[in-house]
Amino acid sequence: MAGYIIRRLFMGLVVIIVVTVLVFLLIRLLPGDPLLVYLTQQQYRETVYDPAQLAQLQQRFGLDKPLPVQYISWIADMFHGDFGESITFQQPVSKLISQRMPVTLYLSVIGAIFATVVGIGFGIICALRRGTWLDTVLTFLANIGITVPSFWAAILLIYLFGLKLHWVPIGGYTSPFENFWLSTRQIVLPVFCMALFGLAANTRLTRSCMLEVIAQDYIRTAWAKGLKERVIVFRHTIKNGLIPIIANMGFLVAGLFGGSVIIETLFNIPGVGRLLTTAILGQDFMIVQTGTLLFVGLITITNIAVDISYGWLDPRIRYD
């Protein structure tokens, strides 16, 4: 088991390195010169710029050195906690992100729990009551859930619950520590919209995995032994059925972070997603670099954790 964990960690590390290279390359190699943008903005949108100033800026941001060197120094800087400075905000990136990270994390964690628990629950109900109206309805809703664009669902819900019924405020965010009730009312819609896709996908996945497990020989053996239905479901079926769902966790987290990009913008929530969107559209590379790396890093860590917990769930893998 230990060997398995170590191998997974190693593979994860490789992936993280690949990811940093990808992020780095993506930003450096794409056309568009951020400094030009910065300069022309500084000089009130003139298209003429002072080459000396450009060179100075280049030196300041380290952009005049060859690529591999830039990469190494970037990584080294990160280990020292220096994530660069935002061109648009004129503040250290680390400060900008650390202000916003808790918000996004808060929403994502709640979203993840919601999507997982409710999704698995619905999926189990569908599988056990297969063919009944409950199964049909839930499956249909799940199919809708994976097709609805999250921003559209958000707008619909804002219209209904915000504008018409006035049950929730339209947007904005307060920390739960300041005003718990207001905070909760504010995050209900955003969390639901972020988690909707994951919830629906989990329901479908759980349903089909459970159905597959139920058809296995060892479940027939369990019935033949005279065990009660409840025991068979909870001890024999679920443990086997959960394996693919845990494997999906990485995608769920990716979906939540991806969703945060749109939802935070729409609901005016000061999280990393909105920051990242603004930064990408404004070509503020420092923020883009670090923000992307943050998201992707968290997703990769989730995947590693998932792979390791696989071994606990499925003993056949342990001795691989």
Binding site: D217, R220, T221, W223, K225, G226, L227, K228, H236, P315
Partner: protein, 330 residues
């Protein structure tokens, strides 16, 4: 000699998009106590489905038990709900079943100990400590070496033969009255086959359990069974005492079957094995007449016009489902 289990006119049909498959079509048999009976027939003749119907383990869509009675200890088991508590207490506790595929019949994520003790806790209300000890004992009885250490292993760490032994141990753990063995030896090699059968016979003798062996291997039933039922296309075509069936088969199918089986020590007579010409019928939209008709060498005019014959007696406990008296032709 008491009758433990009496199955009368059992019918199990399956709906497929190509038609209704009459997998079990009016099957009747009985099992007495302390008896070993064999249910033989080729693949697809409905023997497994018969036994699954007795245990109410048929997946309801697409299959359904449409008629008949399964009388055990005075009760018709088919009156119980398939997933209900009454049927669950019979399964494993009074009637146990082991299956053909040991490789997939055990839950891969639970230890052998857990899979053994849960039956004991369920039917015999043992606590976890006693059940664990009993489980170790059972493993020793079926011949698993180092039972105390291996009991906490997972199924994938056992070979096929050992898994089948574990299945036998699980089935017999609550001392059921009847053990149904559905093709228990088909998936294992010949040496293990012999060992498994011996273990089953021994357990049966010790616990006074009746055994139903379902197989297409005539050799197995010849050695162990006292009475035999021969099935073809969802019906019982011949039944009788084991010796009778082998020495004096009366139904054309059984006759044909025994002609295909090589026998040791047969030095006189024909040396060639004569297969039964033709193929087994599709079980969809079966006609009313005898299912063996296209392949039968003894058929008469009546066979084509009348519905299939009911079982009629041709000797001591010897019944066949045939109009023809095949004795004349031998």
């Amino acid at each position: 000699m008491n009758t433990l289990l009496q199955v009368e006119n059992l019918k199990t049909y399956f709906r497929t998009y190509r038609g209704i498959v009459k997998a079990v079509d009016d099957v009747s048999f009985h099992v007495n106590d302390k008896e070993i009976i064999g249910l033989v027939g080729e693949s697809g003749c409905g023997k497994s489905v018969t036994m699954l119907s007795v245990m109410q383990l048929i997946t309801t869509p697409p299959g359904k038990i449409v008629g008949g009675k399964v009388i055990f200890e005075g009760q018709d088991l088919l009156q119980y709900k398939a997933k209900g508590d009454q049927m669950s207490s019979i399964r494993g506790g009074k009637i146990a079943m082991i299956f053909q595929e040991p490789m997939t019949s055990l839950n891969p994520v639970l230890t052998i100990c857990r899979q053994l003790t849960e039956t004991l806790e369920c039917h015999l209300n043992m606590d976890s400590h006693t059940s664990r000890l009993r489980a170790i004992e059972l493993l020793k009885l079926v011949g698993i070496p180092e039972a105390e250490n291996r009991i906490d292993a997972y199924p994938h760490q056992f070979s096929g033969g050992m898994r089948q032994r574990v299945m036998i141990a699980m089935a017999l753990s609550c001392s059921p009255k009847i053990l149904i063995a559905d093709e228990p030896t088909t998936a294992v090699d010949v040496t293990t086959q012999a060992q498994l059968l011996d273990i089953m016979k021994e357990m049966v003798d010790q616990h006074h359990t009746s055994l139903i062996i379902v197989t297409h291997n005539l050799g197995v039933v010849a050695r162990y069974a006292q009475r035999i039922y021969v099935m073809y296309a969802g019906r019982i075509v011949e039944s009788g005492l084991s010796d009778d069936i082998f020495e004096n088969p009366r139904h054309p199918y059984t006759i044909g079957l025994l002609k295909c089986v090589p026998r040791l020590g047969e030095t006189t007579g024909k040396k060639k094995l004569v297969p039964i010409k033709g193929v087994p019928p599709r079980l969809i939209d079966m006609p009313e007449h005898c299912p063996f008709l296209p392949r039968c060498a003894y058929k008469i005019e009546k066979c084509k016009t009348e519905p299939v014959s009911a079982l009629r007696e041709v000797g001591n406990q010897h019944y066949i489902s045939c109009f023809v008296d095949t004795q004349e032709k031998r």
